[in-house]
Amino acid sequence: MALSGLQIFKLLAKTNCKECGFPTCMAFAMQLAAGKAELDKCPYVSDEAKAALGEASAPPVRKVTVGAGDLAVTVGEETVMYRHEKRFEHMPGLGVMITDAMDDAQVDTLMRQLKEQQFNYVGRTLRPRVAAIKAADGAALAALAAKVDAGCGAALVLVSDDAAALKAAAEPLKDKKPLLYAASESNFDAVAAVARELDVPFAIKAGTLDKLAELGQKALDGDFKDVVLDPSSSSLGDVLMDQTLIRRSAVKKTFRALGFPTIGFPCNMTDDRMLEAVYASVFIAKYAGFVILSDLDPARTLPLLYLSQNIYTDPQKPMQMDQGIYPVNDPGPEAPIIVTTNFSLTYFTVSSEVEASKMPAWLAIMDVEGQSVLTAWAAGKFVADAIAPFLKKSGIEEKAPHKNVIIPGYVAQISGELEEELGDGWQVQVGVREAADIPKFLRQWSAA
C-alpha cells in the first residue's frame, strides 16, 4: 500500500544533505510518494527504510526489460496519464510475429529487417526491436527462437499456452531475458514456475480486467516483478478502454495488481495490414509497452516509429535539430543562405517551405537550445554576436562564398549589428516573418 509523504519522511535520514537532488528530505519524501523520484537517489537510506519503502517507492508501472544487448526493450516506469504532466518514459517495443508456418525466406526477411531496419529522426535512431515467436510445439518453438536470436538478436516474446514448450524455448536463451507469453487462469502456476526458475519476465492474460487483476495479484503474492499484462482487448474501443483503465488504476490508485506494462497484438485483430497499422497507432498513443505487427514493411513501421517518438518525446525539452548547414533542393555556391534556430518546428516549417519553393538554398541552423526565433532572440541567444561566430565557423563560406545571409523577418532589428559583427564584406538581408511567405521571397531573391 502506498505511503504518504510524511510516512516516508519519518523513515529518511532527515539530514537535508541535498545529495538526492532535492532541497530537503521532506521534498524528496513528497516526490517519492508521488512516484516521481527513486529511493536509491538517497545514499544514506537504511536497510529497514529500504524494505519499508521499497514497495511504496516503486513506480506505479513497474519497469520491465525484455531482451539483452542492442535490441533490448525496457518499458514501464510510467507515472502520468498525460504526457504534458511530466513525460512518458519508455517508447513501446515495436515488433513482429514470426511463426513456424512461415517459410525460410519470410523468416530471413524479418530477421534482416530486425537487424537492419532503422530510421533517423531528430537525432534519434528508431527501429523495431521485438520478435514474437510462435510454433506448433516446444521443439519447434525452441528451434525458431534459437534461429531468430542467432539471426538478429531481437528481444524475444515466446508465444505458447504450454509451460513446457515455453521452458524448452526459453531455457537455452534465458540470459537474453525472453518474455514468456502467457500465463492465464488455467496455466498460471506452471508458467510462473518457469519464469521463476529461469529468472525471465512473463506475461499474464485474461479476458477481463477483473481476472487480469486477480492474476496480477497472484504475481505480486509470488513476489514477481517482471510481469507484462495482456487484457486481450477484442475491439479497438476495448483497446482504448482497457489500456486507459489499466494505466489509470496504476498511476491514480497505485493499484499494484495492474501496475505493469502491457503488450498488444494488432496482428491478431485484422487481416488488413493497413488497418493493422492504424490499430497499432492506438496502442502506441495509448500506453502499450509492446506492440506486435504481422510484418515489418517499412512503409508501415516508419509512421508507427515516428508516432512513438512524437508521443514519448519529453514535452518539457523542445525537440532540437543538430546545429549545422542543411542543403535543400541541391544548392550550389550561388544559392541563398538562410539562418534560423534549431527548434525542430522552426526547422521543419522553414525547410518544408524552402523545399516547396523548389528553389535551392542553404539552411544554417544554429543551436539555441531548441528555442524559436523570437524566444531565442529575447533570451539573448539568437543575436548578432552569437550568430556571426556561428556562421563563420559553420563552413558555409566554403560551400557558398557569396557572403549574403538572410535572417528571419522577426529579428530585422539585428541586421545592422550582424553586418558589423560579420564584417569582411558580409551583407545581411531581412527575410519574411511567416514561413508561408518563403517561396515567394526566394523566387524574388538575389544576392546584394
Binding site: 492504424v278 492506438v282 508521443i311
Partner: protein, 319 residues
C-alpha cells in the same frame, strides 16, 4: 485487493455546434471515446478537402485521385461526397491568395455557392490564411449564403471583429484559429464571445501538426484543451475542435518522397496513406471533432477506426 474500475467524474460538456442542414459536431460529456464513463453523441466527422483551383504540386498518390476534377470544385465536391462518402466538404479557397491568383471575394463566393448548391453534406469554408484577404472573402461568403450554417475560418485575433460581425449577422459558425497555445485559444474564444458571437457558434482550430512535424505539440495542446473543458469545466474552452490535417500531412517529406530517393522507406503510396491515417487517428484520441482529410483510402481507414473505437464492451466496467 479486488479491481474496481476507476471512473472519471466529468463536470463539463463540449457544446454542440449545428452545421449544414441537420448535422452537429461536439456534444461530448467525456474524453475522446471514453464511452464507458460518458457520451459522444456526434462521433467525429471526416470532412474531405476540395480546392478552388488546381493543385499542381501534389504527390502522385493524391494527384491521381483528383486529377479529373482539379479546376472543377463542384465536380470535386460531388466526387468526395458520392464516391468517398465524405461527412462534410471543406472548400479550401486557395485562389484568393494575394501572393497567388488573387481572385476576388465575389468570384470566391460564387464558387462557394455553386459547391454549396451541389452537395447535401455540410460545407465548411476556409480562406487562405491571409487575415486581410480572408476578412473580405469570408464576409462575402457569409453575405452570399445568409441562411446556411456554413462554418467559416480561419478567424484569428487580427480579424475576429470583422469576420465575427459578419458571422453573427449571417448565423455562421466561426473557426477560431490560434497557434498551438491553450491560453491563446481561450483568449480568442473570450474575444469572440465578448463581441457577441454565441458560444455554440465557435469551433477551435488549435493548429494541426502532422506526424513527425509537430504532432506532439498539437496532441498535448488538444489534451489540455479537453482537460480544461471537461475536468475544469471551463466554459470558454467547451468548443468542438477542428483539425485541418490534410495539407500538413501531405507536405511531410516522409509522406511523399519516392522509394527511389529513400530506398529504406518502403512504398510511397502506402506510406502517404498511413501518414494521413495515423495523424488523423492520433488526433481522434486527443479530442478532434472534425478531421480534414484528402486520400480516400485514409478516409476509409479512419472511418473504420472511428467505428471501432466506439465498439466497447462497457459491461466490463459497469458496476
Amino acid at each position: 485487493m479486488s479491481f474496481e474500475p476507476p471512473i472519471d467524474q466529468i463536470k463539463g460538456k463540449i457544446r454542440e455546434v449545428a452545421i449544414g442542414q441537420n448535422a452537429k459536431i461536439g456534444g461530448e460529456t467525456t474524453f475522446p471515446f471514453h464511452l464507458w464513463e460518458g457520451d459522444m453523441p456526434n462521433p467525429p466527422m471526416i470532412a474531405m478537402e476540395v480546392y478552388d483551383e488546381p493543385q499542381p504540386g501534389w504527390p502522385e498518390a493524391v494527384r491521381k485521385v483528383y486529377e479529373d476534377v482539379m479546376g472543377d470544385p463542384v465536380a470535386w465536391a460531388k466526387k468526395c461526397q458520392d464516391e468517398f462518402g465524405a461527412d462534410a466538404i471543406v472548400l479550401q479557397l486557395r485562389s484568393v491568395d494575394p501572393n497567388g491568383t488573387d481572385a476576388s471575394a465575389e468570384a470566391a463566393a460564387a464558387t462557394v455557392k455553386q459547391v454549396n448548391d451541389a452537395i447535401s453534406v455540410p460545407l465548411i469554408v476556409l480562406g487562405t490564411g491571409s487575415p486581410e484577404k480572408d476578412t473580405e472573402v469570408l464576409k462575402k461568403v457569409a453575405e452570399t449564403m445568409p441562411d446556411d450554417l456554413i462554418p467559416i475560418g480561419p478567424v484569428d485575433d487580427s480579424n475576429h471583429r470583422q469576420i465575427g460581425a459578419a458571422a453573427m449577422g449571417y448565423k455562421k459558425p466561426v473557426i477560431a484559429f490560434t497557434s498551438m497555445d491553450v491560453n491563446l485559444a481561450k483568449q480568442l474564444n473570450v474575444l469572440l464571445t465578448q463581441l457577441g458571437v454565441p458560444e455554440d457558434k465557435i469551433i477551435i482550430d488549435p493548429t494541426t501538426g502532422a506526424l513527425g512535424y509537430g504532432l506532439d505539440y498539437c496532441y498535448s495542446i488538444m489534451e489540455r484543451d479537453r482537460l480544461a473543458a471537461l475536468a475544469q469545466n471551463d466554459s470558454k474552452m467547451q468548443m468542438p475542435i477542428f483539425n485541418n490535417l490534410a495539407p500538413e500531412t501531405w507536405k511531410a517529406k516522409e509522406a511523399k518522397v519516392s522509394e527511389e530517393e529513400e530506398p529504406t522507406f518502403g512504398d510511397v503510396e502506402t506510406r502517404g496513406v498511413l501518414w494521413e491515417a495515423i495523424t488523423a487517428t492520433s488526433l481522434l484520441l486527443c479530442g478532434s471533432d472534425v478531421l480534414v482529410m484528402r486520400h480516400p483510402q485514409a478516409v476509409k481507414l479512419v472511418r473504420t477506426a472511428i467505428d471501432g473505437l466506439q465498439a466497447q464492451a462497457k459491461e466490463k466496467v459497469a458496476s
